[in-house]
């Protein structure tokens, strides 16, 4: 492992409403990146904001030595990230965390993503490169959808939902997912998105008895497992639940073990 590195930004562009795609020259990160892992980025241009921002890896190319992320502007840190220009440098730590784990005998995979949560599952779909990958992605509206061709290329079947129906199915992507689950069950589901979506998926995974991994978000400090600030409640036989570290024990957890109401 290496400490934080200054990585050159080679592209940063608006790809949907409030959503940016940023590419970094980061050979050390790219060489090790697995789907579901994240990089931990220092906020540029404001030294009063100490904490790094965790952002999932959207794509990584070992050969060309780049890493891509997709992020949504939600606060001042992501706003400053959105203002970064080609040629600027970002202070990056990573890749961090445990990624999704897909065993060799997986034949049929569902990946489900909502909003910026679609980014890490795209990376998973494109890396676990066997036929039988269905990708479900949901957005508020067509304005918020991004990089659809990339998603198309990363799976065998792409299903899209928007809440206003401007693209794809009108409604929630979890509705589309449930329709599919009624018809055919995958060996594994991987999901990332807002908490209500994750809760719905957790319930479906249980109902349809599909193994499922969830990528969780939580406010973080160190990102490496040392400070215990990024807690999420995980079922435990003795104690009811224990707190695990999203950064190091996760950010990917088995759906059956996480308690989304405690987190």
């Amino acid at each position: 492992m290496k400490g934080p590195e200054l990585c050159k930004v080679t592209d940063n562009r608006l790809i949907a409403g409030g959503m940016y795609k940023l590419r970094l020259e980061a050979p050390n990160v790219a060489g090790n990146a697995r789907p579901g892992q994240f990089i931990h980025i220092k906020v540029p241009g404001d030294r009063s904001r100490l904490l790094r921002r965790p952002i999932s890896i959207y794509d990584a190319c070992h050969k060309k030595g780049y890493v891509e992320i997709v992020f949504q502007v939600v606060g001042e840190g992501t706003r400053l990230l959105s203002a970064v220009k080609t040629g600027d440098f970002l202070d990056v730590l990573g890749p961090l965390g445990n990624g999704f784990s897909v065993s060799g005998d997986t034949r049929h995979l569902f990946v489900v993503g909502g909003g910026c949560g679609a980014a890490p599952v795209k990376f998973a779909a494109s890396r676990f490169n066997f036929t039988g990958r269905t990708c479900f992605i949901g957005f508020k509206s067509g304005d918020a959808a991004y990089d659809l061709q990339e998603f198309e290329n990363s799976c065998d079947s792409l299903l899209i939902a928007t809440e206003d129906g401007s693209i794809g199915y009108k409604g929630l992507i979890t509705e589309v997912l449930e329709d599919e689950l009624k018809r055919n069950l995958p060996d594994l589901m991987l999901a990332c998105g807002p908490v209500p979506m994750m809760k719905a998926i957790q319930q479906m995974a249980e109902k349809y008895r599909v193994p499922c991994q969830l990528l969780l978000e939580e406010r973080m400090g160190c990102g490496i497992g040392a400070c215990m600030t990024c807690a999420c409640a995980v079922r435990d036989d003795e104690d009811g639940f224990i707190y695990k570290r999203v950064c190091k024990d996760g950010p990917v957890f088995w759906s059956r073990e996480v308690m989304l109401d405690e987190a």
Binding site: L50, L51, C227, M228, Y243
Partner: protein, 303 residues
């Protein structure tokens, strides 16, 4: 020219004055992936309790201007687990191990100190910022008499030198420090975090599930420096100074104000290499300013 970076605290030699502060460095294993632990002066491990502790509900961290709040709530596996599982690996490193202990009662502190007797631990750090159950939840560290008593009892049960770690949330830090010295404490570490709070104007909610938390980082450096300075004027025992140290110059400021060594906390969360960066920057400062022995700096403030 060789610079001497070695300091002695309560008779224990540290190869340099940089100690990873409790709660920001776990039990060393995560940071070991990024830095050579043999190169830092010491490690104060994550605060331990007699029994394992779950910790508080998340969110447990909030960013504030040049600082952060945490409300981890002492999540830890308990002192027995530590002795059995973490200590064996830690003692393999050539650095000093300081064990941070936290009790709900005086007896709990003493029981923990006893369990650590004869173990490969260099020092105990008595964290007296936690709620004192017997005194109705008031923190141990805010009343001189309680501080005197708990220091004295633990001192009697401890096999290693005892540092007492003070909370800054008091009217007069000097009287607390004097109580430690009178109670037989071997040294003082300060400061722990300052009680604070963060609010999200949009959601109208506190950011921490626990509502309040401990403020740390550069924002509190002026408070910490002032307390180290005040305490160094009234006690003779050594001080480990901390609060917002992010660079070698910050560390030197604490030494000048009267600290014999320094703790680095929040900086470890910003960069896992912080402790080593700070060791290197102190050495650089010594080189540029012709300081041959780091001990010259302690208390060297010109007023």
């Amino acid at each position: 020219m060789r610079h001497n970076m070695e300091v002695a605290i309560c008779g224990i030699k540290f190869k340099n004055p940089v100690i990873a502060a409790s709660g920001t460095f776990g039990f060393g294993s995560e940071h070991a992936g990024y830095i050579d632990l043999n190169r830092i002066g010491g490690i104060a491990v994550k605060g331990l309790t007699l029994e394992p502790k779950k910790g508080n509900q998340p969110p447990r961290i909030a960013e504030t201007p040049s600082g952060m709040l945490n409300s981890v709530g002492l999540q830890n596996p308990g002192v027995d687990y530590f002795i059995e599982h973490q200590l064996p690996r830690l003692k393999g490193y050539d650095t000093r191990i300081i064990v941070n202990i936290n009790g709900n009662t005086e007896e709990e502190y003493c029981m923990m100190a006893e369990k650590l007797q004869g173990k490969p631990v260099d020092m105990l750090e008595l964290n007296i910022s936690c709620p004192n159950v017997k005194q109705g939840g008031m923190a141990f560290g805010t009343d001189p008499d309680t501080v005197y008593n708990v220091t004295k009892s633990v001192r009697a049960h401890a096999g290693q030198p005892v540092l007492v770690k003070l909370t800054p949330n008091v009217t007069d830090i000097r009287e607390i420090a004097i109580a430690v010295e009178e109670g037989g404490g071997d040294g003082i570490s300060l400061i722990n975090t300052v009680l604070g709070m963060a609010v999200d104007a949009k959601s109208r909610k506190p950011i921490l599930a626990n509502v309040v938390g401990g403020l740390s980082g550069p924002a509190i450096k002026p408070i910490a420096l002032r307390m180290v300075w005040e305490v160094s004027k009234v006690v003779g025992i050594p001080i480990v100074g901390m609060g917002g140290i992010a660079t070698g110059e910050d560390a030197v400021e604490f030494l000048l104000a009267g600290a014999a060594a320094v703790g680095v906390g929040t900086a470890n969360l910003i960069s896992p290499t912080a402790c080593i960066d700070i060791v290197n920057q102190i050495e650089e400062y010594m080189r540029i300013n012709g300081v041959e022995d780091i001990n010259e700096l302690t208390g060297g403030l010109i007023v």
